[in-house]
């Protein structure tokens, strides 16, 4: 994978979450696309071995940003190391904004997976598409997470959840009547996506931003398989990461959705 070494302009920490801004010279980036990245300092060689995939969180005026949670070696290194960062070109298929007219559309998110909705909201504003943003806010959320949501999504409706079994539905209840929207764009925990895709089925077009483990990130390896309704496997990195809900195999037991890793 070709990575470009580019300047890391800032790294803001919100607890375990990091917003990393880097210089990126391009006229635009489609919302819902992702990049793969590795830390700038490679003096330890290729460790960890694979670059890590992240949604493009935001982009404007030659500055792109990621919003990610520190989990293992790859994200830890990205959060800490080096004046530079190595990032790929934007990859995959993002949100399809055809056929939504001037809206309204709903953007629904939760967890760190809210990441791609920022760039999407920016694009919709630019296109003059009216949109509402709903974000899940777990009762257990730390101050830093709330801070993060407020900063990144100032106009969002926050849906506090109690963390119980009904939590995945909470944000949906805040949305209320889905059919008043011309489309739903979602990026959140697997359970929330499952509930949403159930609720939208046959009523309103929903697009889900998924994530599966990746190796090549360019369609070569068939590693990032997402089960499709027709029994085949699509690749999250080429045919996705955003899929129309109805293309996807229905979540077994209605609980989690394939291709939406925690």
């Amino acid at each position: 994978m070709k990575l470009h070494r580019t300047e890391a302009l800032s790294r803001e920490r919100f607890g375990d979450h990091v917003r990393l801004r880097y210089r990126w010279d391009a006229p635009s980036i489609e919302p819902g696309r992702f990049i793969v990245a590795r830390a700038g300092d490679l003096s330890a060689g290729l460790a960890p071995f694979l670059p890590r995939p992240f949604f493009v969180h935001d982009f404007a005026d030659g500055v792109a940003s990621l919003l990610f949670e520190v989990r293992g070696a790859g994200t830890a290194a990205l959060a800490d190391w080096g004046a530079d960062v190595n990032v790929s070109e934007p990859l995959g298929r993002g949100f399809d904004l055809g056929g939504i007219g001037d809206g309204p559309v709903a953007l629904i998110g939760g967890d760190v997976w809210v990441a791609p909705l920022k760039l999407l909201a920016r694009r919709l504003a630019l296109l003059g598409v009216s949109h509402d943003v709903y974000l899940e806010l777990p009762a257990t959320a730390s101050e830093t997470y709330v801070d993060l949501l407020h900063r990144a999504y100032p106009s969002a409706t926050l849906a506090p959840t109690d963390g119980g079994p009904e939590a995945p539905r909470t944000v949906l209840e805040r949305v209320g009547d889905l059919t008043r929207y011309r489309a739903v764009f979602a990026s959140g925990p697997s359970e929330m996506l499952a509930v949403l895709s159930e609720a939208c089925a046959g009523r309103i077009a929903a697009q889900l931003a998924l994530r599966e483990r990746m190796a090549c990130a360019d369609g070569s390896c068939f590693g990032c398989a997402v089960a499709m309704a027709d029994g085949s496997y699509a690749r999250a990195c080429v045919e996705g990461p955003v899929f129309a809900a109805e293309e996807l195999a229905r979540p077994s037991g209605g609980v989690t959705i394939a291709g939406a890793l925690p």
């Binding site: 290729l46 090549c216 990130a217 070569s220 398989a225």
Partner: protein, 298 residues
Amino acid sequence: MNPVDSARALAVELCGIPLGTPLIPAAGTLGKEALDGVKGIYGAILPKTVTPEPRAGNPPPRVAEVPAGMVNSIGLQNPGLDRFLDDLDAYDVGLPIFVSVAADTVAQFAAACERLSADPRVAAVELNLSCPNVEHGGLQFCAGPGTVGGVVGVCRAALRGKPLLVKLTVEDAVANAIAAEGAGADAVTLVNTVPALVVDARERRVFLRGGLSGPAIKPVALRAVYEASRALGVPVVGCGGVASGTDVAEFMLAGATAVQVGSGRFARDASEILGEFAGYLSAEGLQARELTGLLGRN
């Protein structure tokens, strides 16, 4: 070095096919969506293994990262030979196309080779013998010299004059390579992934049973290439863990005539790997083709 000299320095020949560089994508690691700008990097193109019938592949997870490498269990997802050939022009970037093929039975291998033999776009065929032989209780075709010799022999006949590469795993590599050569292989590719297991201790489950690739296996692959190339008359194509130009040089010094790059390309840009290799050649004042087996002549 000027560009012309540098191009000349990189060229090798494999089974009579001139390759602009000794790099070949390892089967299953360079797809048709990723062919932009690869012409100057590789000496040939080698798509993912095709089987006679389409295969849906394994359910996810299919890949996991491990120290200095990865484990995969893709399950040979592929569109089947018909659609593969319909679509083969997508791989035409002006480089020779090698086709990797696998099948369930010896007869199916032969039938597939027959078809590939007739297609002028196919410069050479690589048999992927790391797949179960359904007539032999699911043991892999490369499980021993006997089965290797058997399948290679019929494929050799089916392919007529077309060059035949036989790709083997590290287990019994030398004995199997000798059997492949004896049955008519024009070259042997070493190695395929190494059987591996990834355990998820938190969930207390097998995360993945698959094949290990990447720099972790490089010393093991080098050993196989070194020993096989000393035992064989036909060329060896090295594969396993190449992720730098020095790695390419090491495989050639150990005896390889050409070198496949697999998961290393996921971690790095293949053009950087080639650039480093060109740098090595010019620092050493050597041509790529002179490297093959140079260790042995010390």
